[in-house]
Amino acid sequence: MSKQVTLTIDDREVTVKQGTLLVDAAKQAGIAIPVFCYHPKMEPAGMCRMCLVEVGRPVRDRDTGEFVRDEDGSPKINFTGNLETACTIPAAEGMVVKGMTEKVQAGRRDILEFLLTSHPLDCPTCDKGGECSLQDLTMAYGPGESRFPLADKIQLGKHIPLGDLIYLDQERCIQCGRCIRFQEELVDDPVLNFYHRGRRTDIVTYSDPPFDSYWSGNTTDICPVGALTTADFRFEARIWEMDQKPSLCTHCPVGCNLTVDVRRDPASGQIEIQRVMPRQNEQVNEIWICDKGRFAHQFTSDPDRLLTPLIRNEEGNLHPVSWDQALERVATGLKWKEDQMMTLVGGRLTNEDLFQLRHLNDGLGGQAALYSQMAGGDLVAEVGLGKGSNLGDLGPGSTILVAASDLEEEAPVWWMRVKAASERGAVLVAANPRPTKTDRCADHILRYPYGEEAETVAGLLKGRSGAARAIAEAEDLVIFYGNEGQGYEASRALAQTCANLLSETGHAGKKNSGLIAVWPAANTQGAWDMGFRPLAENREALENAGGLYIAGADPVGDGLVEELGDKFLVVQELYLTETARQADVVLPAQAPTEKAGTYTSGERRVQRFDPVVPPRGETLPDFEIVSKVGALLGLEMPNGSADAVLIKIERQKPDYADVTLTELRKVRDQQPIIVPGEYAYIGTAYKNTFGLGVQLAPFAQRAKTTRGDIPEYPSISRDGLLAVPVTRLYDRGVMVACSDTLAPRLISYQFVVNYEEARKAQVKSGEEVKLKLGDQEVQGLLLVEGNVPDGVVLVPRSMGVPLLEPAEADLRPALRSEGDD
């Protein structure tokens, strides 16, 4: 326990950790010292001078070090007579801070008057109006009238695109530098800075493409004025017109807590999503979200959504029908195919959906398969993060291993949390075949050839390297494993190796230790927990299946299979995917934003969300569709709401025994404190009143685990060019591709090689190329990047190239014909 000090702020006594800055200490005492440039998640800058206070320090006797006391016995306090910035002074024992004196109030008024001399005061047309620190603090402290003539106001640019996602209004900017410091300190993308000086100081970006960062939206949350606005929300709605709906991000396994602001759109009359904002959960996403989570929400309102059930008619075309007709057709079809039934699910489904699907599948004696090429959900359930863990608690004594993952691309907020842990003193070991951003904050970098990830991690158990020692000596050990360049078997071997490393070093089942799978989808772990196993374990079943029930997966579109037409195929989807086009029945499902449910994150935290907008058309939640099908088939299915299904899960899944609505909804005080309506301190991230979720205890926390045998996996031939699947955040997956906002940032290339390989193949960056993979040849766009290893072509997933595992490849220009070699 670190040392505590007690001080008095505005006559309130408060005890805080030594080193706490006065502004934070005041916040803990319930006193809001106004700030613009200070932010509790960043180092103080002391620039805006708004947090001025009078600071009295107890006088100590020079010889004895004791406090000098007045006649009445109270400690003698020495005030310097100057105003000081509360954001730069650490609290000390016996300090007396005055924030309400006439002098202080006058000081704050003066600072505001200065700020307003250059401010355009265009609140009526400013998106920040209503949640603006400058507006609020001006109302609280500012002068009522301007002594600065309008004609003297500096006139600057009002609509400067800082990139595709963020706009800068130079007139509104108060030069607090929060955006610059966020980009530098918290996400290590130092792409913004000040330009010019004095009153002409403005914010510029110097990256190419401009404001090149996955985090840019956060700068608009912490901007204390309307200087930074998002391309998504600017000029869309007023703050006070919107309703706040708690939600969860569906794009990756981190499970960021969101608040989605919705409003009835005057034109369409529909309730629409206006913007996606972070909701505080200091154990998950703190007060941040990545740009994919913030801007890729248009999947809800996309005009291409499926809105009615479809069945295939006698001419072989899909045509709209009523739910009754569609469900009847499903039930009849499935009854017929009972013996050879398979259910294939994707990781965007909720636990409730998955539970119901599993129930239906079991009732029909089918195979339950998960559409994923990554293994280890069973191991995560066994040796995952111990209950009570918080990545925010990792620091000195902790070791974090990130294996086979480009973490920022796969799960951005985890990368951010790992970076912060490393800066607090945790030892970070980054093991990946090619350089990633994780390397920048890593203490040990392990580079290995594709295919040797399991050996590399296994080597950490017995080796004498610095990385091995850091793992052996770690008090807490957290292992992230991703899916960089791996097929299913290799993934299974890696997951088992990582699990063994935890067990054999005695970290399994401990708080702040455990295995985290960097899954490709938000609820892949939930699918494992609900009993689904990767399709790769039984590919034949897919081919042999007579009846196929697919929910939230598109194997045809991904090129995994070409033809499913010979089967009785039911597809439950948001869109008419390639798979759905082959279906006998297509059932329109609700988007995650339209229904309630729970997700289990990669850290195995179960979190609940509510609907944020009413469902479109005739769509139904997946779990409800399934229970209707089940009922028609005479199965006893839990009925009713998502919460009713959750109660079944809680009763039937031992791991989920604690996952009750009451527990899911629990909140507690979090640091830094968010006071609704006080934007100056934290920005516009929302307070969490909806629930922090429930952490599941891994099996190892209840019983001892033992090491498992490492399964066999294929070795990789290294004679020619090796194509490996990798993950890029801005791919063209179905939930992202429809985002107008993100569209200009989505990647367009299918292949990445280094300069040497490009030269060898006589191809250039930006060119159409052909990649031969076994029998098939795929055409796509090439990107040439310096840090790709020799002999490797990276193939980003979800870009239309059907590559599930490393494979030999041949790269050639697209225009050259076969005979030219």
């Binding site: 620039m47 003066d110 000040f194 000086r197």
Partner: protein
């Protein structure tokens, strides 16, 4: 006339040559320090000499050195050769004409605080001078006076020059360090001060050129000799830069305790056209302006007496103002300078200098001048005590003291804080 201590080229014009400098005892002090004195002993001598920093604040040099955090290494010495205060041109003459004495001073300071690297940060306009210093440093290295294993000991010292890019603020020591690190020249929050957290976060001494140039002779002749010069409050000699409405502008080296009368009328040849002396800005543009009378003219100058006059000696750059110079013109010039040079980091300076510049412009054009003067005075007062670094505080000195001390030159009445 006593021999020069800092402007020794006026006695020995070829002292910039190493052989001539060595003939005059050059580098003996550094050699003696390295070979026969402990670093702490050097610091002690400098402490006892009473040497105070010549950059403006007058902080005791030896005391500053003793604040160096010995638990963290490496240590650095940085010579502040940014010399950007309007009216200051003393460091330039020292470095141009007597460069070796300055470089030896840097070397002595480096030895005293255990630094093996020292940087000389020069304003960008000093590019020719920088080239010359680079040549001198190379010469000293080949002569074995700088470099590795000096004078047969294991002490090594390398000197580097670095040019700024034209910003007044980079004369402020923490902005200078930021700039030296390759960042934007913006002041840091103090504390921590450079001896605790300086260049690259390491303990660093930042000393002015003139301060450092004193060191070789202090070591050669002893602290008592130096203490014997100057006054009780401020030991030693000072190079005063004289400019403005004076017949013979230039640098004048005089011991502390000399008077303004001596400086302006005996040395500087009096006021142009025999006009009436009205005011003195003793510290360049950042001065509180002194209204001159006979008593002031005859007061012995040092840091303490200057404060009693309601000003600060600062870098000793005396700008002489006579009856022909209107005060509203004067403050317009200084405010314009400061708004141009404000780095923009803190609100009151960024916005205040911009605002004041509008107001002084209006006052000069006599556009509702009485009201503008009142507002100007209020704006300047509101800046006071709220800025992040001294630049913002300097920007208001001329404004407030002009209005306070020369009320007859401004229309309207202000409620003066001074009287």
């Amino acid at each position: 006339m006593n021999p020069y201590i800092l402007l020794r080229h006026r006695d020995f014009p070829a002292i910039h040559q190493l052989d001539v400098y060595e003939e005059q005892g050059g580098f003996k002090s550094f050699q003696r320090a390295v070979t026969s004195l402990e670093p702490q002993e050097v610091t002690e001598i400098v402490k006892e000499s009473g040497l105070r920093g010549r950059g403006g604040a007058g902080f005791p040099t030896g005391l500053k050195w003793s604040f160096m955090d010995d638990s963290r290494w490496p240590h650095y010495v940085v010579a502040n050769a940014d010399e950007s205060e309007p009216g200051t041109f003393k460091d330039r003459e020292i470095m141009e004409k007597n460069p070796l004495q300055f470089l030896e001073g840097v070397a002595i300071a480096a030895y005293a605080v255990g630094a093996n690297r020292a940087y000389i940060y020069l304003r960008g306009e000093f590019w020719q001078l920088t080239d010359e210093l680079d040549r001198k440093i190379a010469e000293l290295e080949s002569a074995g006076l700088l470099g590795d294993d000096l004078f047969g000991t294991d002490y090594s010292l390398r000197l580097y020059t670095h040019k700024g890019a034209g910003a007044y603020i980079c004369g402020e020591e923490t902005a200078l360090l930021e700039s030296l690190e390759g960042k934007r020249g913006k002041p840091r929050i103090r504390p921590p001060f450079p001896p605790a957290f300086g260049l690259y976060g390491k303990p660093t001494v930042v000393n002015n050129v003139e301060t450092l140039a004193n060191l070789p002779l202090i070591l050669e002749r002893g602290s008592d000799w130096y203490r014997g010069l100057g006054t009780e409050d401020t030991a030693g000699v000072k190079v005063f830069s004289l400019s403005g409405r004076v017949n013979k502008p230039g640098n004048y080296e005089l011991p502390f305790g000399c008077t303004l009368r001596e400086l302006i009328f005996e040395q500087g040849g009096g006021i142009i056209d025999g006009a009436e002396l009205k005011a003195v800005m003793p510290a360049g543009a950042s001065s509180s302006i002194i209204r001159v009378d006979d008593q002031i003219l005859d007061t012995p100058l040092d840091y303490a007496s200057c404060r009693e006059m309601g000003s600060d000696l600062g870098s000793g750059s005396m700008i002489i103002i006579d009856e022909t110079v209107p005060m509203d013109w004067l403050i317009q010039k200084t405010v314009d300078f400061f708004q141009h040079e404000s780095c923009g980091k803190c609100t009151p300076c960024r916005e205040g200098t911009y605002w004041m510049n509008h107001l002084t412009g209006r006052i000069q054009q006599d556009d509702d001048a009485a009201n503008q003067v009142r507002l100007l005075y209020d704006v300047a007062s509101n800046m006071r005590g709220k800025c992040l670094c001294a630049l913002g505080e300097f920007a208001i000195m001329g404004v407030l003291t002009s209005i306070d001390r020369f009320p007859e030159e401004f229309p309207g009445q202000v409620e003066s804080e001074e009287n």
